[in-house]
Amino acid sequence: MTNMTGIFIFSEDRALAKQLLTPALELKQALGQPVTALALDGEAAAELAGHGADKVLVLQSASGWVEGLGDAVAGLVGEASVILIGGTQRGKHLAAHVAARLDAGLTTDAKSLKIEAGKLVASRILYAGLAVCEEEQSFPAVATVPARTFPAPAAAAAAGTVESVPTAADGRIAVTGVTPVDKSGVDISSANKLVSVGRGFRSKDDLHLAVELAGKLKGEVSCTRGIAEDEHWLPIERYIGISGQIVKPDLYLAVGLSGQVQHMVGARESKIIVAINSDERAPIFEAADYGIVGDLYAVLPLLTAAINA
């Protein structure tokens, strides 16, 4: 087991695990090495085996606390060339532990992956999105990949093999409770149009102006970090940015938000960006296709009225 070479993938998030197969299969082409997936249960394993993994190892862990599987995973990947791990928080923790154990590099939040001259070359952002950089690593190379960076591959013609491996977990941490986040039913990342609000709004009551506009546009309301984390006016899964959600809607209508890079990195792949801000020097206007310099309290009601439902 310890002498296996090849490309390894893991994510506890099943959709993301499947997406990881897409870059893994490209690396397989480039390196001529098999793809081994690690999975937490038989159902997830069967899905990965059916979508291009040559082999799937089902980790039979005592606790299922993904962060505690670092030593076990490092032991299993043996002579790996490339290890791709889903870029959830749990995945990032695990990946850093595995990389330390293997004395390997680790690219965080890789946006693209390729092999050049026997090295893994991955692109990622720096300075909260101000810059993009390319990192190269000799093998073994590790990268975390955020959700939705790659599409899931089509079903494979032949299914890979599935095997169970006993796995030891980190017993030093006791997990005493898990409370799922109340998602309030909205997945901001799948909305086609977003009206995004910032600190230009003076009170929570005023948000109805954005809600009405979003209703007319058949979109959703998102926000900056301060609106969610500090004011608690909107749930945290609605805030956009480097530490929040990354979205790519057709229309991103930014109202009363300044457009700092930490926020914009989550929205800058939108097709059309519109800004409404009273300060004509606000950075958001540089990032906007269209904009109105004006008071949102005057502009929003007019805009909502002018859009035909």
């Binding site: 590099g105 965080t108 993009v132 950089c133 990192e135 800058r268 296709d289 269209y290 502009v299």
Partner: protein, 258 residues
């Protein structure tokens, strides 16, 4: 009484970094240093716990020789003593190098009950230091913590993950990374800043840590850095609201969005 060590990074303030329009290179000549944002939360958390329950807080940073400029700031935030490792190797260090240097330093100056750091640094945001360090030191690690309670050797935390809040406990020594919403870092007043001058700081020579040259070679090396530029239409209406709205509506219709 808990003995804390807080790890912090002295970074450039990204707000002052400009992208040069000709070759997309970064111009950091006007950027000042700062204690990386989330590390300020880690410092605040340890300092607040110690102010309430007793114990001690020390801080440690590995950076280029400019890291020395951070001492006054870090010591004015409730830290009792600061250690610093200033070396040119930090210029190219990746998370692997950083963790090895910090681990070696902690073996020298430790042990500590709880080693705290921010979730990630504001420049590279690798989010690797805490788990890597824990793996190298053989300690348990709790990451992404937004509530921390320390009772003797035991820490109880709430971790905030994308889809859940997770409660966990660990007995120190342990490594903990914190999120920005765990607290609001203090803004040091004149008294704290003056007091900082009297607090001890100690340089740790990289050469004294017994690391091999190989350990200082990054495993992930940066081969290019390019400023991100967005090309947008930048059609901005400055008319009275009614006229501006009419123009925007026709632009949005032209894009097929309404």
């Amino acid at each position: 009484m808990p003995k804390f060590l807080v790890l912090y990074k002295w970074t450039l303030d990204e707000q002052d970094i400009k992208v040069k329009s000709d070759d997309l290179s970064l111009d950091a000549s006007r950027a000042k240093g700062k204690i990386s944002d989330f590390d300020r939360n880690a410092i605040e958390e340890a300092a607040a716990i110690v102010e309430k329950q007793g114990g001690s807080v020390e801080a440690l940073s590995y950076g280029t020789p400019t890291v020395k400029q951070s001492l006054k700031d870090v010591l004015s935030r409730g830290v009792d003593k600061a250690y610093w490792i200033g070396d040119a190797s930090a210029e190219t260090a990746d998370a692997a190098v950083t963790a090895k240097v910090l681990a070696a330093a902690i073996r020298k100056i430790g042990p500590y009950d709880f080693i705290l750091t921010g979730e990630g640094s504001s420049d590279q945001f690798n989010q690797q230091t805490a788990p890597r360090l824990a793996a190298l030191l053989g300690l348990p690690c709790l990451s992404f913590v937004h509530k921390l309670e320390v009772d003797g050797a035991k820490a109880s935390v709430a971790r905030k993950l994308a889809d859940c809040t997770e409660l966990a406990t660990v007995t120190g020594p342990a490594v903990i990374s914190v999120l920005s919403d765990i607290n609001k870092p203090r803004i040091p007043g004149l008294k704290q800043v003056l007091g900082a001058a009297k607090k001890p700081s100690e340089e740790i020579a990289l050469g004294s840590l017994g690391l091999a040259a190989e350990d200082l070679q990054p495993k992930a090396s940066r081969r290019s850095v390019k400023g991100f530029v967005m090309t947008r239409k930048n059609v901005i209406y400055k008319d009275a609201p009614a006229d501006a709205v009419a123009k925007l509506v026709s632009s949005l219709a032209g894009e097929g969005l309404i």
